[in-house]
Subunit: 112 residues, 2 copies
DNA sequence: TTTCACTAGTTTGCTTTACAAACTAGTATT
DNA sequence: AATACTAGTTTGTAAAGCAAACTAGTGAAA
């Protein structure tokens, strides 16, 4: 069963996760929401996803291009930029450090 | 060499980390800053640490008791409460899920 | 044919988080 | 007396997450 992950714990990490996904292949907002869901992040609200994509585009990390859908409204596909790849790599490093810190603490706890 | 972890990536996670530390033993704000540093989290500013401790106390997760220092100003030691332990366990679960999602993506990336 | 469901995106306003900066104050060393 | 280190509070700002309200296209059922 997939429990939900509180918004708090996601703060700031969502951008990194999105960069990792977009580095695999371009995606549009709605599809990204579904993909996030598939990865185990239950129902990231669109009030979070869309504004974040807009902000990331302003930062030059991704680029949106509107493409028509085979069925339904147009989609805005986002492509990762060179700056986005740099940011993705920075995120990866920071993530590994954070993971290390938390896991050291969890280890300590399990040995109590 | 320890790189620093950007504030963004820490958002919301710091509370969980602090609960894990305080579950080991009571600490005061200043000492917590040093401990965080020792764990590899470079220089978490006191403008972050102290207000967060206050908020956590308001939430009933920890309790502060002033104790005199052998040398220097008084210290406010924080003790984890029963509610704090519950919150710590919730954080642990959420952390493991998040870790799983990010690592799945990092795996995918390494296989590109 | 109009109503519903699903898809797709934008914008507004609110709450919380992180934090720099300014402040107070005790102890210790030079 | 001045400086450095320790210890904590308070204020104001920016950014993040998100609910909610809105627009709008497609397709199927009624």
């Amino acid at each position: 069963m997939i429990q939900d992950i509180s918004s708090q714990i996601l703060k700031g990490i969502l951008q990194g996760i999105m960069l990792l996904i977009l580095d695999q292949q371009p995606e549009y907002g709605y599809g990204l929401g579904r993909k996030l869901n598939d990865y185990g992040l239950v129902a990231i609200p669109k009030g979070t996803i869309y504004p974040l994509l807009t902000t990331m585009e302003k930062r030059g990390l991704i680029e949106g291009r509107i493409q028509s859908s085979p069925a339904g409204p147009d989609r805005k596909y986002y492509f990762i930029t060179a700056a986005g790849i740099t940011a993705k790599n920075e995120f990866t490093n920071e993530w590994r450090q954070l993971e290390n810190v938390v896991n050291k603490l969890l280890d300590k706890e399990s040995k109590k």
